[in-house]
């Protein structure tokens, strides 16, 4: 990874390490803070819109400083539909993440470790499931769901979320498994572990950064999914995204509510992120343990 000490080309170019380190740090943080600003500004604006009193959401010059009001949030919470859909989405999306990992990660492992006949075609086939824009496949899905009695069921939505994320999980995890030396599993198998145990106890822990990354991404993909939720549900399984858009009316947009709902939707993601934060960076430095 990026290192902080100096590696100048020749002795004459040697800069004092402190100076260089400081310089590198300054440059690094300048870039990071710039991007942070770019990221934060719209988010701040979103959040501030949700906290502004009615009618001031879009005023210019902007009210940089204003008395925040939680009016919109109270409205949101009191709208039992929103809270219910929020909870509903949370359950469905979480379940789908667990399920898609359960289905996708083992398959990725097999694709990484075994010689599969026509492996490339299989991989492209898997990828093809995410190639078409959802609108192009929503009709057939609607038909399937009706036929299988999955329409407007949570189970159906969980499956739907699984299917939109499966290709991602399989591909990304295959890449991560490819980066884990097989010697580790060999050791496990020699230690008397079954293939499965070797996978579970040795490979999975080593692939943690990858697993948690795809978990986050899958969560987000499912969490912000709109079209399938729209077409494949009507009452029972309605996801929260639909509610968020319900503040975009035919002849008016409730900016405060829209912003509040959008902000509220970010919260679970942030909580999830903080919870798995440490695993994202659980690098393992195989080289220390395996002579290569």
């Amino acid at each position: 990874m990026a290192t902080t000490d100096s590696d100048s080309a020749t002795a004459s170019q040697r800069l004092d390490k402190d100076t260089r380190e400081k310089l590198v740090t300054v440059v690094r943080h300048t870039i990071l803070l710039t991007w942070s600003f770019i990221v934060l500004f719209p988010l701040y604006w979103l959040a501030s819109m949700s906290l502004k009193p009615p009618g001031t959401a879009n005023s210019l010059p902007p009210d940089w400083i204003f008395l925040p009001t939680v009016y919109n949030y109270i409205q949101l919470i009191q709208d039992s539909g929103f809270v219910a859909a929020f909870a509903n989405s949370l359950v469905m999306v979480s379940a789908s993440v667990v399920l898609v990992l359960l289905i996708g990660v083992p398959a990725a492992y097999v694709l990484s470790r075994y010689d599969i006949p026509m492996e490339r075609d299989v991989l492209v086939w898997i990828l093809s499931s995410r190639m078409l824009p959802p609108i192009a496949v929503v009709l057939p899905f609607f038909i399937i769901f009706r036929e299988l009695n999955l329409f407007d069921t949570r189970v159906g939505m969980v499956l739907m979320y699984v299917s939109i994320n499966l290709s991602l999980v399989v591909w990304v995890m295959k890449a991560f498994f490819d980066g884990i030396p097989e010697t580790l599993e060999e050791a496990a198998r020699v230690d008397g572990a079954t293939q499965f145990q070797g996978f579970r106890k040795v490979v999975l822990p080593a692939a943690k950064p990858g697993i948690f990354s795809v978990a986050i991404i899958s969560f987000i993909f499912a969490w912000i999914e709109l079209l399938f939720g729209l077409v494949l549900t009507s009452f029972e399984a309605v996801p929260v995204t639909l509610f968020v858009y319900s503040f975009i009316g035919s002849r008016s947009i409730e900016w405060g509510m829209l912003a509040a709902a959008s902000t509220a939707m970010i919260v679970p993601v942030v909580i999830f992120l903080i919870a798995v934060n440490k695993y994202l960076a659980a690098g393992l430095s195989f080289g220390v343990v395996i002579k290569e």
Binding site: P42, S129, A175, P209, I266
Partner: protein, 310 residues
């Protein structure tokens, strides 16, 4: 690795036999659910779209349909603006992909090198959040923020910098779409690259430092090649996702002004839900699928996805 059918144990009890069945055929068990889901989500929709693309108009009785050969494809390319959409889409895909890949990697590398753990965690969480803003929210709120009269962004640019803000949605719509997409999806690249970076063995980096490689060459020659599978997969998936980008762009520009940002997905949407030309939409989708599959095949063949340990 050994052949998939290499057995693990010699069976005794029923339980043991079951367990052996599990272990001996592990790859099959591991693949089966994935394959089942994939069959469900690819074969029928694919076949259905193909069927739609070949008929005059959808009928409730599948067999009563009137097959019209390639007429829908012809319509797609003559009236449907399919070619224009492909050109626009490719422009967006290429530029956004480049931007997001580079930005995602640079950010991941920079964050990985941050000394303090807390700062690191902070950046890690912050940089992922944009992805979590739901597309229509982003588009709706993005529109208002970019609005030339009452938007905060032109306001900040006009008052805070010596530059005059362009009229984002009408003067530079494609650029705006690309930049917004970068804001939205660079996190995807960031998170995968970051995870990939953290699994590069420390010793390799040490070796390259000892070998006298300056930082950027370490990345070019050692780290990125080591991460190749991850970089490749992230880029490919982002490429595919970019190809089918819809929500944000539709919400932001609706494909306009005129057809300046008419992505293929928007074209399909309009054919389907506005023009009510479901069959033409299906034809575009089929062409599109063929193009993207072919593209992926070419990319995979050219770049390959073998891991370093293969």
């Amino acid at each position: 690795m050994s052949t998939p059918t290499q057995t693990e144990t010699t069976p005794q009890s029923t339980f043991a036999r079951l367990r052996d069945l599990w272990n001996d055929y592990l790859p099959y068990w591991f693949m089966a659910p994935m394959v089942a889901v994939m069959v469900m989500i690819t074969f029928f929709p694919g076949a259905y779209d193909l069927y739609l693309s070949l008929i005059a108009e959808p009928t409730l009785d599948v067999f009563a349909a009137d097959f019209v050969g390639l007429r829908n494809f012809e319509t797609a390319f003559t009236r449907g603006g399919a070619i224009h959409s492909f050109v626009i889409t490719i422009t967006v895909v290429v530029s956004a992909l480049l931007l997001e890949t580079v930005l995602g990697f640079v950010l991941a590398a920079l964050v990985a090198g941050v000394g303090s753990d807390r700062a690191k965690s902070f950046y890690r969480v912050l940089f992922i959040i944009p992805m979590a803003v739901a597309p229509v929210s982003l588009a709706t709120i993005g529109r208002i923020m970019l609005n030339s009269e009452i938007g905060i962004i032109p306001y900040v640019i006009n008052t805070g910098t010596p530059f005059a803000a362009p009229s984002f949605l009408s003067d530079v719509p494609l650029l705006t779409v690309i930049l917004l997409d970068a804001w939205n999806w660079t996190p995807f690249m960031f998170i995968i690259f970051y995870a990939g970076l953290s699994s590069v063995p420390k010793t390799l980096i040490e070796a390259s430092r000892v070998d006298g490689a300056p930082m950027w060459r370490r990345y070019v020659h050692v780290i990125i090649p080591y991460m190749k599978p991850v970089v490749f997969v992230a880029t490919l998936i982002r490429l595919i996702d970019l190809f089918r980008t819809f929500g944000v762009v539709y919400g932001l520009t609706g494909g306009g002004p005129g057809t300046a940002t008419q992505l293929v997905s928007i074209n399909i949407y309009e054919q389907m839900f506005i023009n009510n030309q479901i069959t033409v939409a299906a034809a575009i989708a089929i062409v599109y699928l063929v193009v993207v599959v072919a593209l992926c095949n070419v990319i995979i063949a050219k770049v390959g996805f073998e891991g370093v340990w293969d």
